[in-house]
């Protein structure tokens, strides 16, 4: 993987890379991607991909709000870095 590919990937992942990280993480990504090439040798003709190891069909629930009576929305909001009433405040962005 060249440096441009890595930059595009980092951009998609919303990860900022310093030049130092570009070198160290780039080398590690490259090593793993090269290692993944061995998968090309596996005989998987006619095999369906596995998404859930055991369940063969999708499960859906009724389209109703699933409220947890013991989890309060205000408790969740308390983890916001800054609140104004029940609004989450983000840093000033221009």
């Amino acid at each position: 993987m060249n440096e441009d590919e890595l930059r595009v990937t980092a951009d998609l992942a919303e990860i900022e890379l310093t030049d130092e990280e570009l070198a160290s993480l780039g080398a590690a990504v490259e090593q793993l991607v090269s290692y993944f090439e061995i998968m090309a040798e596996a005989d998987v003709d006619g095999l369906e991909p596995t998404t859930h190891a055991l369940l063969r069909r999708n499960r859906i629930r009724a389209d109703e709000p699933a409220m947890d009576p013991e989890t309060d929305a205000d408790d969740l909001l308390e983890n916001a870095p800054e609140l104004e009433d029940r609004f989450i405040v983000i840093p000033n962005v221009l």
Partner: protein, 489 residues
């Protein structure tokens, strides 16, 4: 009243217990947070600590039992850091289903344990919040990612600890620390409240020094949960009728792998010794070969990082978590929050996962890995027509030194081969302690078909014995030497 009931039952014993754990943990580094005074979830918010139904004490083996929980599993009243700077300050407002079910059986959560950031690693060295040592040799790692949970159990600080296991994260540290480590069938235990890493592989598992405790914990935690739509009851329709295999717990034939390469000599010897032990006890041993084994690690890391890159997209620093004071624009806010919040291993896996999912590469990597996953499951299913349980080493290497001097980060990933096999297939697995090499524990892994956990208990009882790290005293002895006068029965 049981021993642990006495420990947690009175303020002065709890105080001594807390002092004991803190003193041991200065050397061990297993806990990120410890508080034996915490009230159970159902009893919180009431003045006398009794919920509407009265204080739930539970009955049976788990009643009054202190439990440690890996810090990527939600427990109200504790933090939920995932070993990450990003979530260092997060106070958890709710409790995971698995933990609530343990609490309903009487167990009490006393602390949260250290882990590789978001469960990504094999050493717990990837935690941003502390170092966990192997209780048998502090220069070595406890394993990971549930290193804190395994070390806490091995050192006798708690009798039971929950972990999460995506590719071996409970079994590998259990092997390194000389305790039992259990990964249930995928979906058998609800993931509600487990912070997602790779959703199609993640399970809540546990470490203990004895199988009675593990079995009781699994019995309490298991079952369908409407809050986790990937959770399964044993009678679930998996496309081939009931998922529970016939034959019950009885184990007659055990599959052993031939032609294994790259095992450390100590692990090789332990594997041979375990096979000899089983043969001596009258089990039929059948050699099996798994042709897909060579594809396990690449398929596992393709799938796990792909899912991780999607799951970790939620950490953008807006609604919760660490974030910069200032940003020039919204993009910079998100990027700076992620840059400062994530460690290098997490960044590596997000990059890798994003890459294998990019348009043009999906067929080559992600889709191919999912097909290989099917091939692995098929091959294991065929093997389970011949044998009831398959025996492998848990990890091909011995507990390694902190850092990358003995084993590079890449080599640490390669060592997931045997554990990730069970993860990809969704089947239950147990790391059994009892073998030793150079004074270090070596775990052996038992694999069974989906929902055949009872075979793991049956064979595990034949083989296993947890070790006792020489430098870690039991609580009563420590308490006596520290001048506490306790009646612990």
């Amino acid at each position: 009243m049981s021993y642990w009931n006495r420990v947690l039952g009175a303020p002065h014993t709890r105080e001594a217990y807390a002092a004991f754990v803190r003193a041991q943990d200065e050397r061990l580094g297993a806990f990120l947070e410890f508080d034996p005074e915490r009230r159970n979830t159902a009893d919180r918010g009431t003045e006398d600590g009794r919920g509407a139904g009265g204080h739930r004490r539970g009955v049976g083996l788990l009643a009054g039992l202190p439990v440690a929980v890996k810090d990527n599993i939600a427990v109200a009243g504790f933090r939920l850091t995932c070993g990450s700077r990003f979530l260092e300050a997060l106070r958890c407002p709710y409790t995971a289903t698995a933990v609530r079910r343990l609490e309903a059986a009487g167990a009490r959560v006393v602390g949260k344990t250290n882990l590789d950031e978001f469960g990504m690693g094999s050493s717990t060295d990837n935690s941003a919040l502390g170092v966990t040592n192997n209780p048998y040799d502090h220069a070595r790692v406890a394993g990971g990612s549930s290193g804190g949970s395994a070390a806490a159990v091995a050192a006798g600080l708690v009798p039971l600890a929950l972990g999460s296991d995506t590719g071996g994260s409970v079994r590998q540290p259990a092997s390194f620390c000389g305790v039992y480590g259990f990964k249930p069938t995928y979906g058998a235990v609800s993931r509600y409240g487990l912070v997602a890493f790779a959703s199609s592989l993640d399970v809540v598992g546990a470490c203990a020094r004895d199988l009675d405790t593990l079995e009781a914990a699994f019995a309490a935690m298991r079952g369908l949960d409407e809050r986790d739509h990937s959770s399964l009851a044993p009678e679930a329709d998996t496309g081939a009728g009931s998922a529970v295999p016939a034959g019950g717990a009885e184990v007659r034939a055990v599959g052993v792998l031939t032609g294994l390469e790259g095992l450390a000599p100590g692990v090789q010897a332990a594997y041979a010794s375990t096979i000899a032990k089983l043969r001596g006890r009258g089990y039929e041993l059948r050699e099996i070969s798994l042709n897909t084994l060579q594809y396990v690690v690449p398929a596992y890391y393709t799938i796990a990082t792909a899912e991780a890159s999607a799951n970790l997209a939620r950490y953008n620093g807006v609604r919760y978590g660490a974030r910069p004071e200032m940003a020039d624009n919204p993009d910079e806010l998100v990027r700076t929050a992620r840059d400062e919040g994530f460690g290098p291993e997490v960044k590596l896996r997000i990059l890798l996962g994003t890459y294998v999912l990019r348009s043009g590469f999906q067929d080559q990597y992600y889709l191919r890995a999912q097909r290989i996953r099917t091939a692995i499951r098929n091959e294991l299913n065929r093997a389970f027509e011949q044998v009831q349980v398959i025996l492998t080493p848990t990890v091909p290497v011995l507990p390694f030194a902190h850092g990358e001097g003995e084993l590079t980060a890449f080599e640490q990933k390669l060592a997931d081969q045997f554990t990730a096999t069970a993860s990809l297939a969704g089947i239950p697995a147990l790391s059994v302690p009892g073998e030793w090499a150079d004074g270090l524990p070596v775990g052996m892994q038992l694999l069974a078909p989906a929902f055949a956990e009872n075979r793991l208990w049956a064979l595990g009882r034949e083989l296993g014995e947890a070790g006792t790290p020489p430098d870690y005293p039991a609580f009563p002895e420590w308490a006596a030497s520290a001048g506490y006068r306790l009646d612990l029965g």
